[in-house]
Symmetry: C2
Subunit: 232 residues, 2 copies
DNA sequence: AGCTGTGAAAAAGTTCACAGCA
DNA sequence: TGCTGTGAACTTTTTCACAGCT
């Protein structure tokens, strides 16, 4: 029985499982248990089973899941059995890193266009693709039927680029610029933000430090005094 | 009343609020309502109020939040009032992009070391920091008391780098390599993965496409037939 | 005996809606 | 009047625990 509507949290883990499974297949594994898959993916086995159950009943009780079959099912579910045309706007170090990134071409993501506003870069070839001027964005998105646009420009330029991508007709945007973008309904937006990630880590760093102080205070009977003291 | 234990989901939004607030402060705004803050951050106003209430009762009824004060409180809560020593391992395009990224130095994150395994890169200076050989990782982490390590090496090298960082004594790792890392308890780990993000977007792209087919089928009375048809 | 698939319980996160203060 | 702070309702996600195949 194929269940429709995979929960968002599960969707976000499917690519992870897929990566582990591909590795297992390369190592020649025939089957894998939810336990083993969970270990490699760094999650709980029950979660793996639940997640996979949303795709269908693809396991065999007492045995596990057929690795190759599961790779196929997850790929299909993620829409990786078809080609997606993508483009990258902004060819600074980050844009270059993304353009050269192997995993890009790897799973059905085809780099159809590269865009930058620097005349010195326009016309050059990066990763086998000629760089166009950012003003060509709408035209190229339409022309190549680009579904996913990747934004790797500085913050202040990002909203303008997003507008161009949406006008052109992309339906997904992956944003690396450190700003909150507004996009029309119906366009998926995901964000990757280095400085947000660092700040989240800093929070837990500091919490650990604070806890350590409270802990040692507790051991020496000073817990009450320090309970509301500022961290560090 | 200062509430302890800010929920994880709230922590992840604090850096976002902080960014918006810093912008507002630069524009000269004195106060901001949860409504306005929510709009700029792209979330629901009730969520903003809940999130901020975990830090304390810093708002004024009928008025809103004092922008400057809130910047201070969130910064303190995120541990940004102190300096965090960081290092980047791997100076390919991605590592270079990260090293040059402004937001890095911006909020108390200090680049204490850069590491690479390419002898041609060792000894050069990037972003004002001399590049050391990756074998120096443990020593440099100890020496500079580095708390946060950023991994920007190819997948196969990542676990080895993570081990070095942990041996050296970092307590947080930000991983850009497309692999699941194993780290000791007590080390925070966050992951940024381009190909995972693209795959998540592809899922929703495909779902939209499938829904469109079903919708048009529904309009023409074919819903039952197509309900379980393969997408596209 | 082993491992999946899944109801049911628990936990976490979100949103509502309104009392309460400025 | 206007906007915060927060219980309470609701939704989503995670985890448990075990029935049911192989």
């Amino acid at each position: 029985m194929t269940a429709r509507r995979v929960p968002e949290a599960s969707v976000a883990r499917l690519p992870l499982y897929l990566r582990v499974l591909v590795d297992l297949a390369e190592e020649g594994a025939q089957t894998v248990s939810s336990q083993a898959l969970a270990e490699s993916a760094g999650v709980n086995p029950a979660k793996v089973r639940k997640d996979l159950s949303y795709l269908g009943s693809y396991g065999t009780r007492g045995v596990g899941y057929d690795v190759e079959f599961l790779v196929g099912q997850i790929s299909r579910e993620l829409g990786l059995s078809q080609e997606w045309a993508t483009c990258i706007v902004g060819l600074g170090n980050l844009g270059l890193a993304l353009a050269h990134y192997g995993g890009f071409a790897e799973r059905g993501f085809h780099l159809a266009a590269l865009l930058d506003d620097d005349p010195a870069k326009v016309g050059t070839t990066v990763a086998g693709v000629e760089v166009s001027h950012v003003e060509e964005t709408e035209r190229l998105v339409k022309e190549h039927d680009i579904a996913i646009g990747v934004i790797a420009v500085p913050g202040p330029a990002a909203q303008g680029v997003a507008d161009r991508l949406c006008d052109g007709g992309v339906s997904s945007i992956l944003n690396f610029a450190p700003v909150v973008l507004q996009v029309p309904d119906g366009v998926s937006l995901r964000k990757v933000d280095l400085s947000v990630e660092l700040q989240i880590l800093a929070f837990y760093e500091q919490r650990r430090a604070a806890d350590a102080v409270v802990d040692s205070a507790a051991r020496t009977g000073l817990a009450d005094v320090l309970d509301h003291a500022p961290p560090q």
